[in-house]
């Protein structure tokens, strides 16, 4: 109790710095995968991808990041055990942020596939189980989270498969693919925009103090989402109209003009992906920060019924954007130039599937790995015979990585936890 009161400002400042560091790491490295499919399929230039990522990552973090943040903040650890020693929670969350941030940096440097989500969850579980007690971990919730790590790539793969099959059936395998694309691409745009605004309205806004007063009914949410989607569709249609069928460009490859139309669709899907990524991954950085700030603000009362302050999400969103601007553009460029075998129609199917899965997970408050979800979605399109070649060995390492990441994050977190404990007491 006294420790928290004594060092309130310092602890909070440390939490902010570490949280920002972690968010910066997410922006610098993790966003690249979310945007890579769009840059790789030539639907966006690196510059456009950065601009879209800045706007939509931030919007996703701020508008829809609350639910997952709440899970990381108070879902993984059972707070009832810590009522007498709130400072342990603070040390632990600080340690988790620092260790996950460092682990992310190291792994990125060596090109290991790690997930920000897995490292932060591993860190929190690690410090709680070892530093406090095995009972401090809400194992039921952790089990659900772990299960969602397996389910999310599979779900994304399934959606990817069916979305791609529908593209085949409605557009590519028709007598006149160009006209079919002009007809159906707006519908896909509507679907993408509707999905995103729906999740935001139903699940996201209630975590933001300013919008809390806006109690909308489900029907109203539907209406607003339909409106937003209609506006997006109209913008899309006007962009599609500008693209004309040019026979000369289809000599080598009959689908060049058609793919241009899908490029328009890919832009919208890229926005959705950035939004989805922001909504899920901001929590990795600001969840622990929110936990610390609530303990500090309430003077050491754990689990006090306090709403999450908006500045926490803002700081996270800001950190992601900072990482993007300072470093992310390089990574997006490298990732994008390596994904050359992806045409917009494939990129769209995979990215939409991943975005849908991630946004749904964000709505239910499950922290999942965006990259793993994307890999699952790409595999789904591959199984639908849509991708020239996929390297199964690399995919294997990506999925195996979370087995390694959990103990690594946990180990580091335990180390830092005892360091902080020693420093402050």
């Amino acid at each position: 109790m006294t420790i928290i009161a004594e060092h309130a400002t310092l602890l909070l400042a440390m939490a902010c710095v570490f949280g920002f560091f972690m968010a910066w790491g997410v922006g610098a490295n993790d966003v690249a995968n979310a945007m890579g499919t769009s840059v790789g399929s030539k639907a966006l230039t690196v510059k456009q991808a950065i601009v879209i990522a800045i706007i939509f990552e931030f919007a996703g973090a701020f508008l829809a990041g609350g639910e997952v943040t709440a899970t990381i903040r108070k879902g993984i650890i059972d707070p009832s055990l810590l009522t007498d020693t709130p400072e342990l929670l603070v040390y632990g969350m600080l340690a988790s942020l620092l260790s996950a941030g460092i682990w992310l940096l190291v792994a990125t440097h060596f090109g290991w596939p790690v997930s920000t989500t897995h490292s932060i969850v591993g860190a929190i579980v690690g410090f709680a189980a070892v530093g406090i007690s095995m009972e401090a971990v809400a194992w039921g919730k952790v089990g659900t989270i772990a299960a969602s790590w397996i389910v999310s790539p599979m779900l994304a793969g399934t959606i990817g498969y069916f979305v791609f099959m529908s593209v085949q059936k409605l557009v590519l395998n028709t007598k006149n693919p160009f006209d079919a694309a002009q007809r159906y691409v707006p519908m896909y745009i509507f679907l993408v925009a509707f999905l995103i605004s729906m999740v935001t309205l139903v699940k996201g806004l209630k975590h933001i103090a300013a919008f809390k007063a806006l109690q909308l009914s489900f029907l109203q949410d539907m209406m607003i989402s339909a409106g937003v989607a209609a506006v997006a569709t109209l913008i899309g249609i006007s962009m599609l109209r500008k693209i004309k069928l040019d026979p000369s460009e289809n000599v080598d490859f009959n689908f060049t003009s058609v793919e241009k139309l899908f490029g328009v669709l890919m832009m919208f899907t890229a926005c959705a992906m950035a939004f989805a990524h922001g909504s899920n991954d901001v929590a990795n950085a600001v969840g622990p920060l929110a936990a610390v700030s609530s303990v500090v603000a309430s003077g050491g009362v754990i689990g006090a019924k306090s709403a999450m302050p908006s500045w926490v999400l803002l700081l996270g969103g800001g950190g992601i954007v900072a990482g993007l601007v300072m470093y992310g553009h390089k990574v997006i460029a490298t990732v994008g130039t390596n994904i050359t075998e992806l045409t917009p129609s494939r990129g769209f199917a995979a990215t939409l599937a991943a975005a849908a899965t991630v946004v749904l997970a964000s709505g239910t408050g499950l922290p999942i790995s965006t990259t793993h979800t994307l890999v699952g979605a790409v595999l789904g399109v591959g199984i639908a015979r849509g991708i020239g070649a996929l390297n199964l060995r690399v995919i294997g390492t990506i999925f195996m990585s979370w087995v390694v990441t959990l103990p690594a994050g946990a180990g580091l977190a335990i180390l830092f936890f005892f360091t902080f404990k020693g420093m402050f007491s």
Partner: protein, 226 residues
């Protein structure tokens, strides 16, 4: 900072581009037979030797491309079509170039003269044979369109009709071969016997060139039949 993230590394290089490059090279090799034959028929052996050198160089280039495709298809790749089918296609494609090289090599080595009355028919026969490999190139160049449509639907029918056309051209070469053999049979008494033996062999090989090109089509058909 590692140069590439694992996420981008999971996208392998599609083998389709290299396979198309390979058939184009094999066909180029066969195409050079026409100027070679023209030089040979005119008795211009210096020019024929030069052409044979070009054919040989193209054949080596095709071999190199073949190796490239094989090396870029490790077992760990997840492909939309069976890996063995793709490897088979390349093997069959390569045989077109090999046969072209055989024809030029044998004719140059023996300084073979095509008897004057046969020259027109022989050239037409060779042309038709080379058109077979041109059609094989056309069919193989639909592979990227096939990938775009997931190896399903209308595009498959387009390729099927290309393969039908390929078989038709190959059938023409068979007819031309029968006619040319008959003509040679009528005059073979006046020619040196050993030369006649080898003439028959060259006629066979030109037909075989068309056969091998049409086999590329058959392999492609097997790839599509699932």
């Amino acid at each position: 900072m590692a140069a590439n993230s694992p996420f981008s590394r999971m996208f392998g290089r599609s083998p389709i581009g290299p396979i198309q490059e390979h058939i184009s090279k094999a066909h180029e090799c066969a195409e050079q037979l026409l100027p070679f034959i023209d030089a040979a028929m005119a008795g211009n052996w210096d020019e024929a030797k030069r052409m044979q050198g070009i054919i040989s160089a193209y054949e080596e280039e095709a071999d190199r491309l073949k190796k490239n495709v094989r090396l870029s298809l490790p077992k760990s790749l997840f492909l939309p079509v069976p890996r063995n089918d793709l490897l088979d296609i390349v093997t069959v494609q390569d045989k077109v170039a090999n046969r072209a090289k055989d024809i030029a090599g044998l004719m140059l080595g023996r300084q073979m003269m095509i008897p004057a009355p046969l020259q027109g028919a022989f050239r037409r026969y060779l042309e038709r044979s080379i058109e077979t490999s041109a059609q094989a190139v056309k069919a193989i160049h639909e592979l990227d369109e096939l990938l775009e449509t997931g190896f399903r639907g209308r595009e498959v029918n387009v390729v099927e009709s290309m393969i039908d056309e390929l078989d038709k051209i190959e059938g023409d070469t068979d007819d031309l071969q029968v006619a040319i053999r008959r003509a040679l049979f009528k005059m073979e008494q006046e020619l040196p016997p050993v030369d006649v033996m080898f003439l028959y062999r060259i006629i066979d090989w030109v037909g075989d060139l068309a056969d091998r090109a049409s086999r590329v089509g058959s392999r492609l058909q097997l790839l599509l039949a699932r």
